[in-house]
């Protein structure tokens, strides 16, 4: 029977060192560990591209230069080698995107989420017009956070809504704000493919997909990115849905609203 190594237990806090100092040290350790993980994710996704290129390239060399000695089975095998390498490259790129969210500096300011949503909707419609889709964007949607990251968050949520309603001729994509546990909760709602609530917890894990790529394309990094962005803002993100009855994604952005004019900068995780 396979046994797994237990996680190292953290040493208990000593009683004769002031609590505040221990907390500071522990926090510093945690931040250092996180930074290391982020750097690791970055360099791994970056450095693995070259050997992948070799795999794809030389599989092609065999296919092309030895065509007379490779039968249909062999060609099939080589195609699969290349397809697998390409998929891995895609996933590495996604890991890079995710690690960039953690590495970037965070600037907090009031952000007009409605404006961002309108821009994104326009882009989606321009790329692949779908006259049956209606965007319902609530007025006065302002959030406190980093403009670039919030744009990325909305791109992912609205992009998903767009994608998962693509099987229907007409669709409604809503973005607004409601209240949850006494704080404002923004939401993006669609009436498309939806998901089984039993899978709700898996949704935000990287590369977790509830649908096959034949149904809806993608490697499953979008919601992991959304979660990371919300976490960096100190908020919560969760989802509700039902199969073929659409999905709603909620997120909170805690923090003071328009107190000062100047944006507040936060250092990156290095």
């Amino acid at each position: 029977m396979q046994t797994y190594p237990t996680r190292p237990q953290a040493a208990p806090l000593a009683l004769n060192v002031p609590l505040e100092q221990q907390l500071r040290e522990r926090t510093a350790e945690l931040e250092a560990a996180r930074a290391e993980l982020v750097d690791f994710a970055y360099s791994i996704s970056h450095d693995l591209r070259a050997p992948l290129r070799s795999i794809v390239g030389f599989a092609k060399v065999i296919e092309e230069d030895y065509a007379d000695r490779v039968d249909a089975e062999g060609r099939d095998a080589l195609h699969r080698v290349r397809a697998a390498a390409r998929k891995m490259a895609e996933q590495l790129d996604d890991m890079l995107k995710l690690s960039r969210v953690s590495r970037s500096e965070l600037t907090r300011e009031p952000v007009d989420l409605g404006d961002l949503a309108r821009e994104i909707a326009t882009e989606l419609e321009a790329a692949a017009p779908r006259p049956g889709v209606v965007f319902d964007i609530a007025p006065g949607l302002v959030g406190w956070g980093d403009r670039r990251l919030l744009a990325l968050l909305l791109q992912n949520l609205l992009g998903n809504a767009w994608k998962f309603t693509s099987a229907h001729a007409s669709a409604r994509i809503e973005i607004g704000v409601t209240s949850a546990a006494g704080e404002p909760a923004y939401f993006v709602r669609d009436d498309g493919a939806g998901f089984d609530m039993a899978d709700a917890r898996r949704l935000f894990n990287p590369f977790q997909r509830l649908h096959g790529t034949a149904e809806f394309p993608g490697t499953g990094i979008g919601l992991a990115i959304v979660r990371r962005i919300v976490q960096r803002h100190g908020g919560r993100v969760w989802a509700e849905g039902a199969l073929e009855k659409g999905a709603t994604f909620y997120f909170t952005l805690p923090g003071a609203r328009i107190e000062t004019q100047a944006p507040v900068r936060e250092a990156a995780l290095t």
């Binding site: 070259a50 290129r53 070799s54 794809v56 390239g57 390409r86 490259a89």
Partner: protein
């Protein structure tokens, strides 16, 4: 097709082989000189007995002297600063892009993983820099 040579600065032997293959497949028969690290590249570029290339395909991650440093030294020289440089790298990092352009690269291409795409990319580069593009005047490329 014009006769300019290509200087390929690439430390990865697989990438070197695949790039040369892509050039050949696309009937780009111009002579290719390969430098396997930044120092070799500089030694070649600043060797007065060697003709200057029509284009430099420059990788960024190189041993000894980095790609950006090679670019910097080229642009600091009144003759080498005219040679077209195409950064050809795995990196898509904003800092590399910014630094590359700030130091005066003519172009920045991210190496695709897929060989078909890679071959297409090399074909485009060859067509553009060796055929379409007007190289700096020969007189200016003569070393003093």
């Amino acid at each position: 097709m014009k006769n300019g040579s290509i200087l390929l600065v690439e430390d990865n032997p697989d990438d070197e082989k695949l790039t040369l293959r892509a050039l050949k497949k696309n009937n780009i028969a111009n002579p290719v000189k390969v430098a396997r690290d930044g120092q070799e590249a500089l030694d070649y570029l600043f060797d007065d007995n060697q003709p200057l290339p029509a284009v430099v395909l420059l990788d960024l991650r190189l041993p000894k002297v980095s790609g950006l440093e090679v670019l910097k030294r080229m642009r600091a020289d009144p003759v080498r600063k005219l040679v077209p440089v195409v950064i050809l790298t795995s990196s898509k990092e904003e800092s590399d892009l910014t630094n590359g352009y700030a130091l005066g690269t003519n172009s920045y291409i991210r190496k695709p993983v897929d060989f078909e795409q890679f071959s297409e990319t090399v074909r485009h580069l060859g067509m553009y820099w060796l055929v379409l593009n007007e190289a700096p005047p020969v007189g200016a490329l003569e070393k003093a």
